[in-house]
Symmetry: C2
Subunit: 350 residues, 2 copies
């Protein structure tokens, strides 16, 4: 039988009806004054706005969402907020979307595919109208679920040629091919690799494959004893470099790292071990964090414009929401930043 006794709670309790009454118009006009100002005569619009201001009224989003079937919500699925790379992507995405009145919901997967799937489910349940998700290695059916809802989405950060998904990012494999080529050109033939966990992480997998493929072109292979996989931390970089250099057999003359934190760790440990960089050993990073140009020697690394990824992803999704059928975005370029941590290969210690 419903609640009966209306009893508005004194607080934030103005409704469109109250504004309409105060302005001497109907609720339809109130709504139009806010959502389609051009359809309301200027002086009436003025009156409505004044009445709304007086009552401190703003359209209640739940009511609006229900009636208009629009939520003005978008979602961003990222591995973690604790990584600059994703934080700045999301930041840019949000800035761009909020300028169009779209609020961004953030979901963190903590690099776990199940959590990712849950977050997406939650966002969908919340009614997001567009979704940006980092990477494309997710639980099977994830993208289908999204598409089945008719929600436009875009993969961010990585751009794999041949991927069935629209994506805004760069080609991770190509980026590492570029690094490999650079080192090969310097004469290196013995390589080490320190990288992040590759499970459920297509970016890391692509990088490793890009590296291996390019080395293979010159008949060079990575030796297992020169490869380390672990947390993307300075500490892991240090410990890995030490154990690689202590491994039996010939030492690598170049160590490729999955990101700058690992590379900085490697650099620090090399110094601690009395290994000269780049004379005895070349080291490369990835990301070009602020610290990379301040290390001694400064770090050769790849730069990617993460804010631009976020922004382009936002633009793409916005275009989809506007009903345009935008072309899949082109890949972004990553750029090799040559600094002093790489140099001509030392005579191999083999």
């Amino acid at each position: 039988m419903g609640r009966g006794g209306r009893e508005r709670n004194g607080q934030a309790g103005a409704r469109a009806l109250d504004v309409a009454a105060l302005a001497g118009v109907s609720t339809a006009t109130v709504s139009r004054a806010f959502n389609a100002p051009e359809k309301v005569a200027p002086e009436i619009r003025e009156k409505v706005l004044k009445a709304a201001a007086e009552l401190g009224w703003m359209p209640h989003p739940a009511g609006a969402a229900l009636a208009s079937r629009r939520t003005w919500l978008a979602g961003a699925l990222i591995p973690t907020l604790d990584n600059d790379v994703f934080a700045s992507q999301v930041g840019a995405l949000q800035t761009r979307l909020s300028a169009e009145g779209v609020t961004v919901l953030i979901g963190c997967s903590n690099y776990d595919a199940d959590q990712a799937a849950n977050q997406v489910r939650t966002m969908l349940a919340r009614g997001v109208e567009a979704l940006a998700v980092v990477g494309e290695s997710h639980r099977p059916g994830l993208f289908e679920t999204i598409a089945a809802r008719g929600v436009p989405y875009v993969v961010t950060y990585s751009h794999r040629p041949g991927s069935p998904h629209p994506s805004v990012g760069f080609d991770n494999a190509a980026a590492f091919r570029r690094i490999a080529r650079h080192l090969l050109d310097l004469g290196h033939r013995d390589f080490g690799l320190i990288h992040q966990p590759s499970i459920d992480n297509d970016r890391v997998v692509a990088r490793i494959e890009g590296l291996r493929a390019t080395l293979a072109e010159e008949g060079v292979a990575l030796r297992p004893q020169h490869v380390r996989e672990g947390p993307a931390s300075i500490a892991f970089g240090r410990q890995s470099l030490r154990s690689i250099m202590e491994a039996p057999g010939p030492r690598p003359t170049a160590v490729v790292c999955g990101n700058d934190a690992l590379a900085i760790g490697a650099l620090i440990e090399a110094r601690a071990l009395g290994i000269r960089v780049p004379e005895d050993l070349s080291i490369t990073g990835f990301d070009d964090v602020a610290m990379a140009e301040q290390t001694d020697p400064p770090l050769t690394t790849m730069r990617v414009d993460n804010a631009e990824i976020g922004q382009r992803a936002a633009d793409y999704l916005l275009a989809c929401l506007a009903g345009r059928q935008p072309p899949p975005p082109p890949p972004l370029e990553s750029r090799l930043i040559l600094r002093a941590s790489t140099g001509a290969a030392a005579r191999s210690a083999a």
Copy 2:
């Protein structure tokens, strides 16, 4: 006259009514099966859940919000996502809140008070039921606006004794008093200071005041030519240290930095200038970032557990939402991490 021709859009178009029909119950029971399972007989609940699964139905949040007057939305206002300190706070806040079914909306002010006010307005309009905001120096009336809506809030990151707001954070002034005391104890009497922009930033202001106050106790004052204010970057730290050391008159024997990035920059520049740390100059940071223990020499700095701030803020807000009147949270401790960048004062060059 309303839309008339119902015409459900094939897609995600199941309603509670459809589920009810399929399960052979009323919509009330469907609702209860989801929101108050204990009030529904187990076998009926089972049937409802199965029917919902079959139709791929989930409660539509706008309808739910409208009817229940609950949005299960909370907001977090931070300066920027581009800073680990805030990113991890938000991350922890979100993890905790989402475990209770609350979705977090993030607003970035970019250190601008007007943007902050706008973001808060937007979040309030979106119907957030609780708010965590970094710092307390905001546009006058901001907190009143929030409180007027009956929305519980908590100030994060800083905890100022005597503040009228509930806050989860540490006492920035006390933290810098601690640093000052440490350096005074080491015999320093000539200080430099490199800090972030202080406008609209109560944390930075409190730190500076804590430092000045403690120095004053020993009759020590900061000389204007030894103070620099600018972006919290490694580069600004470098350039500031150089210009401080080049300033006419006696050089400081200790330089206090507003955060680790500035301190790392100062450390790098000291090395470039041939100034020995800590023999000739002591340097301190703030935050204890991962890099701080890897610098040469490792950096003396203050550690704050940002994840814990986020988590406690979440717990406090959750308690408010549960209708409990939780006591204002106690301040957190920041901890001085003594490393090798600080040492006994050199004989003053005065």
